[in-house]
């Protein structure tokens, strides 16, 4: 398996809404902490070190 960079999220607008709603009312520190927890939860779900490495590099390359 390789990192999927094709569209894969059903109802993208709905997902984006949920992501923003999650941060509603939080200050910067709380949002940063929430993002960190979210990354960790997702990373654990993926588990595959190569996919995680590719994802990190994809996020970093701009």
């Amino acid at each position: 398996m390789s990192l999927n960079l094709d569209p894969n999220i059903p109802d993208p607008d709905g997902f984006y809404d949920e992501l923003l709603a999650l941060h509603q009312g939080l200050d910067k520190a709380q949002s940063d902490a929430l993002n960190a927890r979210l990354i960790l939860v997702l990373a654990n779900h993926i588990g595959d070190r190569q996919i995680l490495r590719d994802a990190m590099q994809t996020a970093k390359a701009r």
Binding site: D32, A33, A36, R37, I39, L40, V41, N44
Partner: protein, 543 residues
């Protein structure tokens, strides 16, 4: 004049004037500089092999202060081979449960759950002075049995020269300076190694900008025998992390991480230490301060541990952060690795190049230890805002979710490294378990009476399981022992089959004198064994 750098806990080798001080320089096969745990372990191992060894220490005994307190299973196994393991077990505190807190919240609890079927537990807690004393006790026993070991207290090396394969030392004593010569010098003189400095050798690495306050307190509290560790502890002025851990004699080790910009003299005042300890233990706790100290640390190592006829072992060669108990434990493994090799070289049974593999193998171990302890340190003391955000996110998630617990790092506890891919390793067989591959430290296992490792007494050993072993008492003058057993009747728990056979029916292991696996086969003839022996003794090394 010999400077007194610290106070003595046990006066074990008082200064005595010897005839050599007023005679022309005498030559010694091996001189060890520094009588700490590593120097004494090497001396004991070499002496038991019959190689004469002289230990020079600038004090008359073991220094005060608990210092290294966690001794790992592998260290105890090595000490046991050297005759000091039982005394350590009898005195030490065995612990298995660790609790990790973040502020007031318990993040999780772990059980080291040592695998069954080993003579020694995963760890014991024991003050370093006891560890050293038990080694010296074993040296005294070995001396009584004829081991050629000499310890000279209050003998401080003030200068050295290495020329044409001879090391010449100036040694200061209460009766003035004398000279001696050594074929081989082992520098076990600690992280600030004067020998290393005299040779102008570099010791590079990373400095961690943090101070840790140790308070050993004596109290009869009914805290359980567990390791309690706090990130961002809730008690007043306790710093960024804290540790509570039990030692023998009703002593508790308390550590506070104080940060970088501190006034050491002020923080070491007993009333200031007591204020911190009071806040941690609660109102009305009764205790005495037994020993206090502030330490900083670095992670660094020498590029090579062998420089001609001079060998470095323990903290003089490598230094790690204390998280994970990898300092003294890795130094004892240096001693274990070095002694048999140097013994064979001195006896003319192996080429001097075998000692290069001491450096290679233990550099490999040091790198693994430095990596692990650096990672633990980065978790304990986040170096940026975002690393602290992730650290605390992990601690928060770990309270509820098992997945985050393996990410919590308050020190990965010391285990021996495997000398994977290094030149001494002989043949392997793919059907046998990964765990016992060449280069690994042989795991222990129960026998009908006693344990397997006690059969591997410091010589090369052929360990035959369900197979016949060719009669072979020596190879090229090097003694080879044989341990042969059948798992049908001599493997009471099945551990030997599981650890050494896997799915195979039979196996033949070549075990090195330091109990690492040197080679293994399902079956081997005399030629194959001889070839593996030559490889394991450095006779196939280029150069």
């Amino acid at each position: 004049m010999v400077d007194v750098r610290y106070n003595i806990a046990f006066k074990l080798y008082p200064y005595e004037k010897v005839a050599a001080q007023s005679a022309p320089p005498q030559r010694h096969p091996v001189v060890i500089v520094g009588g700490g745990p590593i120097g004494m372990a090497v001396a004991l191992d070499l002496g038991r092999r019959g190689t004469p060894v002289l230990v020079l220490d600038d004090h008359e005994g073991v220094g005060q202060g608990s210092r290294a307190i966690c001794f790992a299973k592998r260290t105890l196994e090595i000490a046991d081979r050297l005759g000091a393991g039982q005394a350590m077990m009898d005195k030490g505190v065995v612990w298995n449960i660790g609790k990790v807190f973040h502020g007031n919240e318990k993040v999780f609890e772990f059980d080291l759950q040592p695998e069954a079927g080993h003579k020694f537990p995963a760890f014991i807690n024991l003050q370093q002075p006891y560890f050293e004393k038990f080694l010296v006790d074993a040296i005294r026993t070995a001396q009584a049995e004829g081991a050629p070991i000499e310890i000279r207290g209050q003998n401080a090396v003030t200068s050295m020269q290495q020329q044409a394969g001879i090391v010449t030392l100036d040694v200061d004593t209460p009766d003035g300076i004398y000279q001696l010569e050594a074929d081989w010098l082992i520098a076990c003189d600690g992280a600030r190694s004067p020998i290393r400095d005299m040779m102008g050798l570099s010791f590079d690495g990373r400095v961690f900008e943090d101070n840790f306050l140790i308070a050993d307190v004596r109290m009869t509290a009914d805290f359980p025998t567990e390791r309690w560790f706090w990130f961002e502890p809730p008690f007043k002025d306790s710093g960024a992390s804290a540790l509570l851990h039990k030692q023998p004699d009703d002593i508790w080790r308390i550590d506070f991480q104080l940060g970088w910009d501190i006034d050491r003299a002020k923080e070491l005042k007993p009333e200031n230490i007591r204020a911190r300890v009071d806040a941690m233990l609660g109102e009305g706790a009764e205790y005495e301060l037994e020993w206090t100290s502030i330490y900083t640390f670095q992670c660094r190592r020498m590029k090579e541990f062998r420089h001609g006829n001079i060998l470095f072992a323990g903290d003089s060669a490598h230094q790690v952060s204390p998280f994970g108990a990898r300092g003294a434990n890795s130094g004892v493994q240096d001693a274990d690795n070095l002694a048999w090799k140097l013994d064979l070289v001195i006896k003319g049974l192996a080429p001097a190049a075998l000692l290069d593999t001491y450096s290679q193998e233990r550099v490999h171990g040091a790198d693994e230890n430095i990596l692990n302890s650096t990672r633990a340190t980065d978790f304990l003391t986040p170096k940026s805002e975002i690393s602290k955000v992730f650290r605390n996110a992990i601690l928060e998630l770990a309270q509820k979710h098992a997945f985050a617990r393996p990410l919590v790092n308050s020190g990965r506890l010391s285990v021996p490294c495997v000398y994977d891919g290094l030149p001494l390793n002989g043949p392997d067989h793919a059907d046998l378990p990964t765990r016992t591959r060449p280069g690994s430290a042989c795991p222990d296992a129960p026998l009908d009476a006693g344990f397997l490792l006690s059969k591997f007494t410091g010589d090369f050993t052929l360990f035959a399981i369900n197979s016949t072993v060719p009669t072979l008492n020596e190879v090229d003058g090097i003694r080879v022992n044989t341990v042969s057993l059948n798992t049908k009747d001599a493997d009471p728990t099945g551990a030997i089959a599981e650890r050494f056979l896997g799915n195979a029916e039979q196996a033949l292991y070549l075990i090195r004198p330091d109990q690492h696996v040197g080679a293994r086969w399902l079956d081997a003839d005399v030629d194959a064994i001889k070839s593996a022996m030559r490889r394991n003794t450095g006779k196939e090394l280029s150069s």
